[in-house]
Each structure stands twice: as structure tokens, then as C-alpha cells.
């Protein structure tokens, strides 16, 4: 066991910290889930790319630095500590990219990855449908073969697509075998949103931003090279990387340790006004974030040494998502009657970011597999309890 960073990692941290200090916008950008804010975030993403900080863990030929998982952790830690903008490219970088690396043809990788890294192509996720939320196997959107044109015609509806109204591309599952049931007969498609027959409609979200979209497909044609992995193998392709170590389940601790530090700072400012018992919630929140950091260090060690977490990654997801809610609940408890104030209120503490963050945090236990589903996974696949 050695919990110290190597010289190389230290240098990496220093380089990244100094670049961020010099380049992170002094004024926080408006939410990237609004049209205006999104545009500004894309600018930022391109700046990151030019300095090769956009996708540090990718190979250099695709715009990365071939950074190790450890360096990726360091980058994330520094990124959040610096209070840098949210990554509006994350669905592409964290969800699609791992799948492309594993299943993409050389042509697909060479075409999509650099444009994704450079924030030229902006990807949104097309999993959920009106009748397929927790149960993705309920997908009804279909792709019909067009032999003549050498491609597929997509019809159906995707929903809850985060930032879909502002993106340029969508990746998602469509049913290519109408006979097949449930998880079978699905195919993974890469779809430009400017394709004829595709309509995108923005949907307002809890926190007031137009961060969701519904995407309608009416006989929209996409050529064969828009299929990722094999036809009718979409489920396997999609699932293979959902617990990817760069995916959602291994959420970088930096985000939460930074929130915990901000909570400590808030407590210091409010301490004279609040019930002393809140001290315990504050310190518990700080310890929970620290525990998540330590858990992740062990997790990454296992991954690096060839022991992937598998179903245990559901433990991460439950922990970070429920911790994030608690951290914000504690902050709001500290704020008392001031907690309901939002950006623009002269009396708002920290410009209402805690209430904003709370609403964002509330999505955590719901998306990427509700925590109820995650608990089933843990019980059945980690503890081995009977499914039925």
C-alpha cells in the first residue's frame, strides 16, 4: 500500500493546476443547460481541447494525453477544485467514447473521436423513451432496413435527452428486429440531429433550465456506417461500457470533495447562526466525501491491476448520488429561510447555487439506473440473492 503520488503525477497536478488557475473564467458561466450558457460552455470546451485538457485519458492521436487513470483522477480533482465549468461534452466523452473505443471501426474512431474531443460534434444520449425508463428493454423506436439506400430508416421518440436541444448528434438504441423481444433485436445508432425527419423539442427542467429534449424520428434515414457494433447487438454494445471505469459509475471524487469543502466554508460563515447539531451533518458530509475518495482509490487500484468492479459499481452510484443529495440538504438546512432564494436575489447566499445544486443532485438517484434498480443489482449480482 502506497498512498503517495509519484513525481510524475505531482508534476501533472502542478501543470494542470496552473493552467486552470490561468484559464478558468473568473465569473462562473451561466448554466450549460440553457441555450446561451451552452454556447459559452462549448467555447470553454474548445479552449480545453486546444490545451489538450479536454480528454486527458485518450491517446494523443485523438486529442488526449494518454493519461493514466490516476492522472485522470488528479485532473478531475483539480478541475473541480478550480471551480471550472461543468462538462457539457460529458455524455459523449464519458458514455459514447468508451463504447466507440471498444466497438467502433477504425473509420468511426478516426472520424468521431477527434471531433468529439474538439467539441465540434456535441453528443446527447438517446436511451429513454416514454415507455422505457428504468426498463430500457421497453424501447419501441425502430429502425427499418432500406437496402436500396444502404442504410436504415428511424421512427419513434426519445425523451429526457439531457441538453438534446443544443447538441448536434445523438447516440441511442433502436429496434431493428421487430420480432425480437425485450433486449434482443436492438441496434446502437449514431445519428446526426440535422438528419431529415429528426425533430428536437426542448423540455423545461426542475431547475428551470431547458436542459431536456424530446427527439422525434419520422422515417429518418441514416447510412450503414452510423451503426456502432453489430446489427441487433445494440444491447450488448450499450451495456458493455455502462459500468466503464470512465463512465458514470466511477464518478470522480473531486466533484464531491469540492462540494464538501464548500459546505465546510458555508458552515464557517453561518456557524454563529445555526443549530450546533448541524455541525454533525456538515462533518458527516465531509467524511462521506472523503470515504468516497478513498473507496475510489481502492477501486482504481483494482481496475489498474485488472480486477474490474463489475456489478459492485452499483455501490459507487448509490453512494455518490445519495451523498450529493445529503450534502446539499445540509447546506440548505444551514441556510434556513435563505435557502429558497435563487440566482439574482441580493440576499441569496452564494448566489443561490446550493438550491440549484440540490435540484441537480436530486436527479442522481434517478438517472443512469434508479437507485432502486442499483440495489436490486447489488442484492442479486453481488450478494447472490434469488431474482424471483
Amino acid at each position: 500500500m502506497d498512498l503517495s503520488w509519484s513525481e510524475r503525477e505531482q508534476r501533472f497536478r502542478d501543470e494542470c493546476r496552473s493552467w486552470l488557475e490561468a484559464n478558468v473564467p473568473a465569473e462562473p458561466l451561466p448554466s450549460g443547460d440553457t441555450r446561451e450558457g451552452f454556447a459559452l460552455h462549448v467555447e470553454w470546451e474548445r479552449k480545453l481541447f486546444e490545451a489538450r485538457w479536454a480528454v486527458v485519458s485518450w491517446p494523443p492521436e485523438y486529442g488526449g494525453r494518454g493519461a493514466s487513470l490516476w492522472e485522470w483522477l488528479i485532473f478531475e480533482e483539480e478541475y473541480y477544485r478550480a471551480g471550472a465549468p461543468q462538462r457539457v461534452t460529458q455524455n459523449g466523452i464519458f458514455l459514447l467514447a468508451p463504447t466507440l473505443f471498444e466497438f467502433g471501426t477504425q473509420e468511426q474512431k478516426d472520424h468521431y473521436l477527434p471531433r468529439m474531443a474538439a467539441a465540434e460534434d456535441l453528443w446527447c444520449q438517446g436511451w429513454s423513451e416514454p415507455n422505457a425508463g428504468s426498463d430500457l428493454a421497453g424501447i419501441r423506436s425502430r429502425a427499418v432496413r432500406d437496402e436500396a439506400a444502404g442504410g436504415w430508416r428511424l421512427t419513434g421518440q426519445k425523451t429526457w435527452t439531457t441538453r438534446g436541444a443544443f447538441c448536434t448528434h445523438l447516440f441511442g438504441l433502436f429496434r431493428t428486429d421487430p420480432q425480437a423481444e425485450r433486449h434482443h433485436g436492438l441496434t446502437y445508432f449514431l445519428v446526426p440531429l440535422d438528419t431529415e425527419g429528426v425533430t428536437v423539442r426542448g423540455v423545461g427542467r426542475l431547475d428551470g433550465d431547458e436542459g431536456f429534449a424530446e427527439v422525434f424520428f419520422e422515417d429518418a434515414f441514416v447510412p450503414d456506417d452510423c451503426v456502432l457494433g453489430g446489427v441487433n447487438e445494440g444491447w450488448k454494445v450499450a451495456m458493455a461500457t455502462t459500468s466503464s471505469e470512465r463512465g458514470l459509475t466511477l464518478r470522480s471524487p473531486g466533484r464531491f470533495t469540492a462540494t464538501a469543502e464548500r459546505l465546510i466554508d458555508l458552515y464557517r460563515r453561518m456557524a454563529d447562526r445555526v443549530d450546533p447539531r448541524l455541525r454533525d451533518e456538515v462533518i458527516q458530509g465531509w467524511m462521506d466525501a472523503e470515504a468516497y475518495r478513498l473507496y475510489t482509490l481502492a477501486d482504481v487500484t483494482n481496475i489498474v491491476e485488472g480486477r474490474p468492479p463489475g456489478a459492485r459499481s452499483s455501490l459507487n452510484k448509490i453512494w455518490w448520488s445519495e451523498m450529493d443529495v445529503r450534502l446539499h440538504e445540509t447546506a440548505l438546512a444551514l441556510l434556513g429561510a435563505h435557502g429558497e432564494l435563487v440566482a439574482g436575489a441580493s440576499e441569496a447566499v452564494d448566489d443561490g447555487t446550493w438550491m440549484k445544486g440540490y435540484q441537480f443532485a436530486l436527479a442522481g438517484p434517478i438517472y443512469a439506473g434508479t437507485n432502486e434498480i442499483q440495489r436490486n443489482v447489488i442484492a442479486e449480482r453481488v450478494l447472490g440473492l434469488p431474482r424471483k
Binding site: S128, N131, G133, S134, D135, A137, G138, T159, W160, V203, G204, R205, L206, G208, F212, R273, V274, D275, P276, R277, L278, L332, A333, L335, G336, A337, H338, G339, E340, L341, V342, A343, G344, A345, S346, E347, A348, G352, M355, Q359, L362, A363, P365, I366, Y367, T370, N371, E372, R375
Partner: protein
Amino acid sequence: MRFAFTDEQLLFRDAVRDLLDKECPPEAVRYAWVSEDGRADHVWEALAEMGVIGLTVPEAFGGLGLSELDLVLLLEETGRVALPEPIVETTAVAVPLLDAVASDELKAEWLPKIAAGDAIVAVGFVGTPFVLHANVADLLVLEREDRLFALPAARARIERQPSVDGARRLYTVDWNRNDEIPLVSGEEGWHQVNAAFDRGALGTAAQLLGLADHLLAVTVEYVKQREQFGVPVGSFQAVKHHLADALLRLEFARPVVYHAAYSMAHELDTRSRDVSMAKCFASEAAALVARKALQCHGAIGYTVEYDLHLWMKRVWALAASWGDAAYHRSRVALDVLGPAGASGAGSPTSSR
């Protein structure tokens, strides 16, 4: 011993529920989010018509001269529909306060207008840092260092403080001291502020019951029809237990709130403690119900095009208004354990 409401009280409650279902549908709440003054149309007038707005106004001034016990079920109904109006401030808090401390002239001038629905009174104490609907108030009743006074709306300089709940129009208020119309001050002022704070906390607790009731009801309906994995999500034991827990907390907060209304109406010595218990239980129960409601809805509950958030955000706001759960718990501790045992407790006027 009889811990239940009278048939009259229940009939009045039903009548108000019918009225509000008709006059204050979700569209009215949505409208209040975007309307200039943050209010729904016509509802206030309809409620005044029915006697609800003037419920606490003495009959001599054109009201019904009824008590907190008669009001509590009606405020619960205003919560059920997320009524975007300052009824707690005007009817539950301002009227009894004016009736207790205002000059005969002031009462004669304002109480009848309030009862008729022609005047709105906004209130602001140190325990409630922001003044709800000061923008539409005709009169403000404010307090500084136990100095209670009235302020004509025209004399108030107000600055909006946007809330997560678009239907809650909150303001900070500034004024010239010589525009104050003195009501009462000193120790009597402190007592009156405490009584007013108790009425506000109780009224808010009642609204939280109604808000939570509605959130639970729509969630139950949703999980009954929403299907995943080929069955209604409401058939999953995890969802059942989420909602059973929500009902449990709500149903045990209910008698606590009704009991506090009884204590206030009968001026029992324990009334401040009873009100704090009520606000503590109602705040935590409603917050839990809101949390479960969103989780059981999933992504759809997260969209503003679906109504859930209108109620959820009201719950967040009211749970922290008029003293949050932690504050009221400290107040109970102060009463039960005494100052020695209860570190961290404060008087209602200690800022939250």
C-alpha cells in the same frame, strides 16, 4: 375527550375544497409563476366571498370571528392546491395581531376591508426575513427589535428576492422610520411577535399537510398506471415501502398539527411548544413526501412541464419558512429540557 373536528368544520372544509378545486387548478398556480403580481385570478375574492379571508376578523368588523381551530383545515386545503396567495400572512397572522394591538381607528379602517377581500396585509418579523407578496399588500405589519408597527404600502421601498418557487414573491423592505404607525413595543411587543410567529408557523404547518397530501395522492396515481418491466411500478415492493413511509410520516404529523391549533384556540400554556412540534413534524413529513414523490416518479417528475415541481418547490420553501424543523425542535427542547439542557435554542426572533 374528543379529538376530531365538528361536522360544521368538516362541511366548511369540503366547501372550501370544492371552491379551490374549481378556482385554483394547477394552471392557476402556473399562471402565478408568470403573472405580473404572482397571484392567481379571482381566487382571493372567491375565498373572501365565502368568509375564509375574514375568518379570524371579529364579527363586529364583518368577519366570522372564528379561531385557529376553525382555520387549520381550510389552510390545509389552500396547501393542497398550492394556493399562490398570502392567506397565512393576512388571515392567520395579520388579522389577530391587528385585532390585539391596533388602535380602534386602525381596526375600523382595515379589518372590514380585509374581511371583504379588498385589502391584503403582508408581514415581516426577524424570524421571517422576507416579506411575502409585499408587492400586492395594501398594508405591511413589521417588527424590529420587538417594535411592532404598521406601514402603508405606499411608504415601503421593496426589492424582490426571487424564490425557487416562482409563485412566492418575496421582498426585502426598507422604509423611513417616521412613516411607521406604532402598534406596540417592549415586552408586550415581544409577546405579540411570538404569538404572531406561532400563528404563522401553525398556518404554514397546515399548508404543508395539504401540499404533502396532494404530492402523495398524485404519486400513488402515477405509480398505479406507469408500467415498467411489464407491470405497474407501484407493484414493486421498494415503491410500496417508499410510499408507505411517506403516508406514515404524514399521518403522524396530522394530529400534531391539529393539536397545536386546539392549543392556540384555547390559549393553552403549552401552545408555543405545541406549535413548534407541529411545524417540526409537518416540515419533515412534507419534505420526506416530496422526496419520495420525485423518486417514485423518476425523470418525468424532474420536468417543469409536469405539475409535480409546483408542489415540491412550495414544500421546500414552506418547510424552511416560519422556522425550519431544526429551529422548532430546539424550541421544544428549550421548553422541555430547560435552558441548561437545550444548547443552541433561541427565541423565534433569533434569525433563521
